[in-house]
Amino acid sequence: MSPELLLVQALNGLQFGILLFLVAAGLTLVFGVMDFINLAHGVQYMLGAYFGASLAAATGSFWLGLLLALPAALLAGLVLEFLVFRHLYDRDHLAQVLATFGVILFLNEGVKLVWGAAPLQMPIPALLEGGVALMPGLQYPIYRLGIIGAGLATALLLWFLVDRTRAGMLVRAGATNPEMVSALGVDIRRLFTLVFGFGAMLAGFAGVMAAPILSVEPGMGDTPLILAFVVIVIGGIGPIRGAFVAALLVGLIDTLGRAAMPDLMRLFLAPSPARQAGAAIASMLVYILMAAFLAFRPAGLFPVRTG
């Protein structure tokens, strides 16, 4: 693999990792504060993409679509919280898994009913169209750089919110000891709802940004959801910092692995089996990474100190 290609793939990996971070951040906040495992977080990402694509088509502007999709995603999250999730906080993880799985079945089918099974397209905004020359003769799409920039900005904002504001302090306190926070007069249910809506909006934001470069289709949230779980296992539950580093790691390894593995395998195998074996190994890489982390650092990258 040439250095140019490596650079391009590294940037793609970074961009993928950023999207994963946005999905994983909401998931880990919700889990950290409410001890609630939400499989339906992936469909919130999908809903964001659908809202973005259809609102952009309706208004004729990517920016308006993005702007309107965020409150729509927030609203969808709050409705789900009110109708389903709220009744599950006191139940065991098994009940949470199954009920949120039911939400996935419903919504994956629902978008098919509303928007059809064919993938939607969302145009890239004119402002971010085209490429930028990273090196002589090497163009890289501006839009993807835009995703990286927007994701980094969101990560910074998130860090500020969680680490430096009163609401963030309550979120962190709630993650450590919800009963105590509640006893101190904080309405913990309202805090839950707030965190939940915020997480849903983050996932929706990731969905809108991914919409122009991926196809918007039913089930598109499943893979990010499961990779976000891998991110959380590697990064540890709770800390945003762990999710950030782990998401970038997973994004880079997955993307670079897919690009480089077939070539690497050719050192040992004939071209055709090398391509097959390479593809198989590449798709397993992040899970092997996760297994290695579990074996050597079961508490994640940045374990939360307790006691």
Binding site: I37, A95, V97, F101, G102
Partner: protein, 308 residues
């Protein structure tokens, strides 16, 4: 004695079904599917109900079993004396490797990790271009029993499935009643106390995970034979979720509940998909409602009243 009534009636019903109006080709296909999924669900119930380990990657073990049939079939090996042990051993090995890692964690981490390993198996199956990749693989022939094509006969296949389901059920029930099962249940309730009396739950849980995997492998062999076709969708995480749903729908407290759950699931799927193409829009909310309001499961409804 009383706890045998419902399972006995259930198995007798399955045995009589082909002669009680369900002997048509399509009804037999549905029944076979019920029994095969029920078998996998019984294995999962051993894990979830017995050991309290919620695995969201159980479909992968079915997939490993089914793909073992595929790999052997592609190499011209279709005899049951080879296919069954190889497929079961492959699924058990997969469970051993992933279980050894997953069981280092617990609770929600365990759910996420089993899901991730299941997804790993799914993507691996999709990338097996030699065995059809995404499109799946059509078997040259069903598995042969003692040199004969016994399984091609629908009625014979029905009773083979029923017999293996019965053996699986009895085996799991015996395992749960034995000392092994008591340690599992004790560790489910309070792992700390189990450790305090000098027992490490880890090897017991790992053995339960491997047993459930082996049963999943057996079900995978039957599933491949039932359809004469294997595709990566057998390993999809939705399938794992459905298996979990069968266990819960039937009721966590008993193993035969898992079979009842599988029966209810297959019938519900069949009925709803006749109703509308978008049957999952009805099925999803039903699932949510059953989790919220139907806690004891089907077996709970049929169970004799507990005297207090």
């Amino acid at each position: 004695m009383r706890e045998w009534v419902v399972p006995l009636v259930l198995f007798a019903g399955l045995a009589a079904a082909p002669f009680a109006g369900f002997g048509e080709g399509y009804a037999l296909t549905l029944l076979a599917r019920t029994m095969i999924l029920g078998m996998a669900a019984v294995g999962l119930a051993l894990l979830v109900g017995g050991a309290g380990l919620v695995s969201l990657g159980h479909a992968a073990t079915l997939g490993v079993g089914a793909y073992a049939v595929v790999v052997l079939d592609a190499n011209g090996i279709t005899d049951a004396t080879t296919v069954l042990p190889v497929a079961i051993a492959a699924a058990a090995l997969f469970a051993l490797a992933t279980g050894a890692i997953s069981l280092r964690t617990s609770g929600v981490h365990f759910i996420m990790i089993t899901l991730a390993f299941g997804q790993m198996a799914f993507f691996t199956a999709s990338s097996l271009a030699a065995y059809g990749g995404d499109d799946g693989y059509t078997l040259f022939s069903r598995t042969e029993v003692a040199g004969t094509r016994l399984l091609e006969d629908r009625l014979a296949f029905h009773y083979v499935c029923l017999g293996l389901l019965g053996l699986t059920y009895l085996f799991c029930r015996a395992a749960l009643a034995a000392r092994f099962g008591r340690v599992l249940r004790a560790a489910r309730e309070n792992a700390l106390r189990v450790r305090a009396v000098g027992l490490d739950p880890y090897p017991y849980r790992l053995l339960a995970y491997v047993l459930a995997g082996a049963i999943g492998g057996l079900a995978g062999v039957l599933l491949a034979n039932a359809a004469e076709f294997v595709a990566p969708s057998y390993l999809s995480w939705q399938r794992s979720g459905e298996l979990l749903f069968m266990v819960i729908l039937g009721g966590l407290g008993s193993l035969h509940g898992a079979i009842l759950g599988a029966l209810a699931y297959v019938l519900l799927e069949e009925w709803l998909s006749h109703l509308t193409e978008h049957w999952r829009m009805i099925f999803g909310p039903l699932l949510i409602l059953s989790v919220l309001f139907f806690r004891g499961g089907l077996a709970g409804l049929l169970a004799p009243r507990q005297r207090r």
